[in-house]
């Protein structure tokens, strides 16, 4: 089950869905995609509903937002494994060959193997590496990339993690890995290619950095 929270992804969403559907059917994996839209004003919902018609509602499910997107989507997920990713074509979905090694969680990393980025200037790379270094020193998470935002979880593992703690936004993703390590779950890594947003803008301003630091320090003090 792929959980796709979206906001203003009218252009990216059909492409992501198409890529996912093709990747899964090429690998012979049974799948479903759960799209949870946060009230986008740009028509994302109509696109999602069209996709549901095209692929069938056993493959695509569109949900209106209700509380936290992940928790809401989890209730409808029927898969044994849950993938959480961004719908903005950032991850270039071509790595569904996780689960070898029988990990509880598989996390995408931009920093190892042939993982990487495209379209990033030096400043953005520096901030990314710097922030990650700080994270490694403070949290010692045992995973090389906490904010790559491409994850696969065993369903029971995700449920257990989600009931433990609630941060918001991407800090939530970081917290999940840290807690997972503490609880003894196995975390494997898979290189991902983070291609800069094809459509839409990517946000990395001063505000983002400040809120990242706040989140990091909060995790440092509470986990």
């Amino acid at each position: 089950s792929v959980l796709l929270p979206t906001y203003n992804e009218r252009d990216n969403l059909p492409l992501v869905v198409w890529l996912l559907a093709r990747t899964f059917s090429d690998s012979g994996i049974d799948f479903e995609i759960i799209i949870i839209d946060d009230g986008s004003p740009d028509g994302t919902q109509e696109v999602a509903q069209q996709l549901e018609k095209i692929y069938g509602s056993d493959k695509i499910l569109f949900l209106f937002p209700s509380g936290t997107a992940y928790i809401h989507g989890m209730k409808y997920a029927t898969g044994d494994f849950i993938v959480i990713m961004d719908a903005d074509l950032s991850h270039h979905v071509r790595l569904q060959k996780q689960k070898e090694g029988n990990f509880d969680i598989v996390s995408g990393t931009r920093y190892k193997g042939n993982g990487g980025v495209y379209g990033w200037d030096l400043k953005r790379k520096l901030i990314s590496r710097g922030a990650n270094f700080l994270t490694q020193v403070l949290l010692r998470p045992g995973a090389s990339d906490l904010t790559g935002s491409f994850r696969l979880y065993r369903k029971e593992v995700l449920q257990k993690l989600m009931e433990r703690c609630v941060s918001k936004g991407y800090v939530f993703q970081m917290e999940m890995i840290v807690r997972a390590r503490q609880l003894g779950f196995t975390v494997g890594e898979v290189p991902i290619s983070f291609v800069d947003r094809v459509y839409g803008e990517s946000k990395l301003g001063g505000n983002e950095i400040v809120s990242f630091l706040k989140g990091l320090l909060t995790l440092f003090a509470t986990t």
């Binding site: 198409w18 018609k53 074509l89 270039h92 990487g116 379209g119 270094f133 800090v171």
Partner: protein, 125 residues
């Protein structure tokens, strides 16, 4: 202002709620019991007191001369060393940050194929 006896105003931490554990969490490692902050404070307290005991001891209990000379500025040395290590590490990682040229190209191809296919299947963009 807070008058004695009144409840403290709530802090604006609404984005980050502290973790609650239901019942007793399964602790599979002793480190899980302490937060990272607590671990750091413990470690620093340990090292700090050891250093203070040795470096700032009264004349009768001081370690021999050269050792003491090295010991005194040790915290600063370690800080500087860590600073250098950080810069070197981040610099190295920055330099070796992969640029996924072919992934980007592949993606563009996929996008073309996707749009054609979806249009064929009835998607109105």
């Amino acid at each position: 202002s807070v008058s004695p006896g009144s409840p403290l105003p709530s802090l604006p931490l609404s984005r980050f709620l502290p973790c609650s554990s239901h019942g007793s969490p399964t602790l599979l490692s002793p480190q899980a019991a302490m937060t990272k902050l607590a671990q750091w404070l413990c470690g620093l307290a340990l090292l700090g007191s050891a250093w203070a005991a040795l470096a700032l001891a009264p004349p009768g209990l001081q370690p021999p001369g050269p050792l003491r000379q090295a010991l005194l500025p040790l915290p600063v040395y370690l800080l500087v060393a860590f600073g250098c290590y950080s810069l070197a590490t981040v610099g190295y990682r920055l330099a070796t940050f992969n640029d996924c040229e072919e992934a980007a190209a592949e993606l563009q191809e996929h996008i073309r194929a996707a749009r054609a296919d979806l249009r064929r299947r009835g998607l109105r963009l």
